[in-house]
């Protein structure tokens, strides 16, 4: 419908816009100068919003425009609209924005420390004499992500209604933001959700910012307006320090860890980020006691609470890389060490139920064999730091872990996100959600409804998006649509069938999109194990990934090919974030071998967040086998490796 409406409008009757950004940030804006634009152009500035242009986003607020100070790169100051996209880009050059850096006091007060949380279980040993201390520090530096494509938002007024057409992961927030800033009733704003295919957070916060500005331009000019802009997002900076006290045989006894999360300039929901982090910090081995503390700091970057699987992935990566360090301190391959340290069950905590560690061993067994891990590890360990014999070094590493998907139980209780299931008179089942519609996802949900509600041959399941319907299923982040939602849908199908026995359809039930009754904050959503082999030559100092072996669980209903494609993308994009390059050697081009194992306990699973963490852990471990002094810091550049190698030379 949205596409039909867009094409039906005359192109010449639209205004095209672009955003104006400051030259540097964080900074205070002292002056905005511009040449007088002709009558074909107009601007949207903060003064056009009498009640302010900030809109609510979960527990915080985000400004759409800011003319006094810019807290992070990519924060828009104003927008300019004109007759076509190319001329507006040229007109933007006439704006001069003067900025000065924030004063030290202002910087300190703006980016102050936020909340903190902790988790502990067991009693630490009072006397740690005789125990061996293994410490490690993991740091994943933020990286900006500017969307490669221009995101387009279009607004037009049709009678009393304001239509917004934008690719978004959360249409309800777009509607709420436009209604709040343009002083309209929420039901007067109709959001047409365009397909969402971006990998990072471009389609989470940015569409709401663009919609607010475009809607105001549309109101101001009284004509359809189109705003095009690259989207700015950033991953969080995560710093984790761990101390583990191990017994003589190398088995861990006590562990303490501290994590600091830098989550960007605006608060979205720090408490949820801390819960995600704590779930990932729990190590995948047995301990007598464990204590973890997490604190949040504001930083001069775009909000990054939900940047892909963060910060669960980073926390899980730190746990796994630390386990590798413990094994290395005993000069054992990780596969040998884990065979005695990773057995039995990890205890039940407030954040995760107990995890069967033996099942993880079973998952990684075949890929250890297939990749010839033990032989290669022993061989590569002998040439660490040594470029003299061969012009390259090689490294191999193993990582394994459990995944989570979706929000925590506490978050689900605080926020009510819903979906609607309707049994029609013709006995068809219609699911209405505001999750972005992707073909593969809709097919999966249809399959699930058909399975759960025993639909007859003449009946069908229909999955709809919610154009013009006031329904909020929440943002599509952290694999929510594949995490809790299927189990909620399953129980809704059962309830609907029970209602059917009491009367004639149509019936409709609105159900929560998230699980609010779990005893722990998270439920495991599958498990994964990964072996990664890389090679680094002495000239370019670029880590080149040769091959990866991934074994992961797959829900019984998951589409095999779609799963393979998702996992391949997850591995390759996480490697790119780490600073690795895929091998382009025709003799051995980069290859990802994926083994999918049916997880009979889950109809649908999503192991993406875990796989991302495992890739980071395995990459750092393999890199450590090539150059020992490189440290656990991501992303890695050629300069870092060269420096580490020179440090090693200086020591020898």
């Amino acid at each position: 419908m949205a596409e039909h409406m867009r094409s039906s409008l005359n192109k010449s009757s639209k205004s095209y816009g672009t955003l104006v950004f400051p030259a540097s940030a964080p900074s205070r804006i002292t002056d905005i100068r511009t040449a007088e634009p002709d009558s074909r152009y107009f601007t949207v500035r903060t003064s056009d919003f009498p009640d302010g242009c900030s809109f609510p986003f979960l527990s915080g607020t985000i400004p759409a425009l800011s003319e006094d100070r810019a807290l992070h790169p990519g924060q828009p100051i104003m927008a300019i609209f004109g007759p076509d996209h190319e001329s507006v880009i040229l007109a933007r050059r006439s704006f001069k924005v003067d900025v000065v850096p924030l004063a030290a006091e202002e910087y300190e007060s703006t980016f102050a420390q936020g909340a903190s949380d902790s988790l502990s279980w067991g009693n630490p040993k009072e006397d740690r004499e005789g125990l061996r201390l293994v410490s490690s520090t993991y740091k994943d530096e933020f990286h900006y992500h500017v969307s490669p494509v221009l995101i387009s938002c279009e607004c037009w007024i049709d009678g009393e209604k304001l239509h917004v057409e934008v690719p978004t992961q959360w249409p309800a927030n777009v509607r709420r933001a436009v209604a709040a800033t343009c002083q309209m009733a929420e039901d007067a704003v109709i959001v047409h959700q365009m397909s969402v295919m971006q990998r990072y957070d471009e389609d989470l916060i940015w569409p709401s910012i663009m919609a607010v500005i475009t809607a105001k331009a549309c109101q101001k000019a009284g004509m359809p307006c189109v705003l095009r802009s690259h989207a700015y997002s950033a991953s969080p900076t995560v710093e984790i320090h761990r101390n583990t006290w191990c017994a003589e045989d190398g088995s861990p006894v006590d562990e303490e860890c501290e994590a600091v999360l830098h989550l960007g300039a605006w608060e979205l929901d720090d408490r949820e980020a801390m819960r995600q982090c704590l779930a990932g910090l729990e190590p995948v081995y047995n301990l007598q006691s464990f204590r973890a503390e997490v604190s949040v700091r504001r930083s001069p970057t775009p909000p990054s609470t939900f940047f892909r699987g963060s910060p669960f992935s980073e926390a899980a990566a730190s746990a796994e890389i630390h386990a590798t360090r413990i094994a290395s301190s005993l000069e054992l391959p990780f596969s040998k060490w884990k065979s005695y340290a990773r057995t039995g069950k990890r205890p039940f905590t407030d954040y995760m139920p107990s995890v069967d560690l033996d099942s993880l061993q079973a998952l990684s067994g075949p890929i250890i064999e297939e990749s010839d891990f033990n032989r290669k590890w022993a061989s590569y360990a002998t040439q660490t730091d040594d470029f003299s014999l061969l012009s390259f070094n090689r490294g191999i590493a193993l990582a394994e872990g459990v995944s989570v998907a979706g929000f925590s139980t506490s978050f689900s209780r605080e926020h009510s996100f819903q979906a609607r299931l309707t049994l029609t008179e013709k006995q068809n089942l219609t699911l209405l959600t505001s999750f972005p519609q992707r073909d593969a996802y809709a097919a999966l949900m249809k399959k699930m409804i058909e399975l759960e509600s025993d639909l007859g041959e003449d009946n069908e399941a229909i999955v709809l998006d919610n154009d013009a319907v006031m329904l909020d299923s929440g943002p599509d982040v952290l694999g929510r649509a594949m995490g809790h939602f299927p189990s909620q849908l399953s129980s809704a199908c059962t309830k609907l069938r029970l209602q059917e026995k009491e009367g004639n359809p149509p019936f409709s039930i609105v159900f929560s999109a998230d699980e609010e009754l779990m005893p722990c904050e998270f439920e495991p959503s599958g498990a994964a194990a990964l072996v990664l082999e890389l090679r680094m030559d002495s000239v370019s100092f670029t880590p080149t990934v040769v091959e990866a072996w991934l074994a992961t669980t797959k829900g019984t209903l998951n589409n095999r090919e779609a799963c393979l494609s998702t996992m391949r993308e997850e591995v390759a994009s996480a490697l790119a974030e780490c600073g690795a390059k895929p091998s382009e050697d025709p003799a051995r081009p980069f290859k990802i071998n994926i083994t999918l194992q049916d997880d009979t306990g889950h109809t649908v699973t999503d192991t993406s967040s875990c796989v991302r963490g495992l890739v980071k852990a395995a990459f750092l471990s393999a890199l450590g086998q090539c150059v020992s002094q490189v440290g656990n810091r991501l992303p890695v550049s050629a300069a870092d490796i060269e420096k580490a190698y020179r440090n090693r030379e200086g020591k020898s």
């Binding site: 596409e3 494509v149 221009l150 494609s565 591995v571 390759a572 382009e584």
Partner: protein, 168 residues
């Protein structure tokens, strides 16, 4: 300026700005549906089209360069028999690229296949691997891309009955 060009077999005469990028021209003036995004020359690779059988970034191709040329987009290409060769190749390799990059991947594979389909030479793996990087998406690894190109080329040669003779 006024340009005449052929898009997906249709002869068109358009009046556009001479430096308008081809992808915007196709989106706004021809209403090609699969080219929704414009990256402003960031080389994301999502806007690949065939310009006289050669894959080009349409965001970097100005309108004056396409005067009198033939353009094939994914919209038109997916209705042809040639597309079936690539579709079959994906299926037989059990590989499915993501929905986002599928149009660009297909056009890239088609340009490689067209280069080799009538010739007798062996596929140059290094060349193909280098070209694989034109589409900046991580859903296919290099080995998988190479396998699909090989399979697609074999399908095309088989269908068009091209005999391969090795150069000794």
């Amino acid at each position: 300026m006024r340009i005449e060009l052929t898009v997906d077999g249709k002869y068109l005469a358009l009046s556009v700005s001479s430096d308008k990028p081809l992808d915007l021209l196709l989106q706004e003036d021809v209403e090609v549906r699969n080219l929704r995004d414009h990256c402003d020359g960031a080389m994301c690779g999502q806007c690949l089209v065939l310009l006289d059988d050669k894959a080009v970034f349409s965001c970097l191709t100005p309108a004056f360069m396409v005067r009198g040329r033939t353009i094939t987009t994914f919209d038109g290409f997916q209705r042809t028999r040639d597309y079936r060769d690539i579709e079959k190749a994906f299926a037989s390799c059990h590989i499915r690229p993501c929905e986002r990059c599928l149009p660009a991947r297909v056009m890239l594979i088609e340009s490689i296949v067209r280069r080799y389909e009538t010739g007798t030479g062996e596929l140059q793996d290094a060349e193909v691997l280098q070209e694989a990087g034109l589409v900046r998406c991580h859903c296919l690894d290099s080995a998988a891309f190479l396998a699909v190109v090989r399979e697609a080329l074999a399908n095309r040669r088989k269908r068009k009955n091209v005999r391969r003779t090795k150069i000794s």
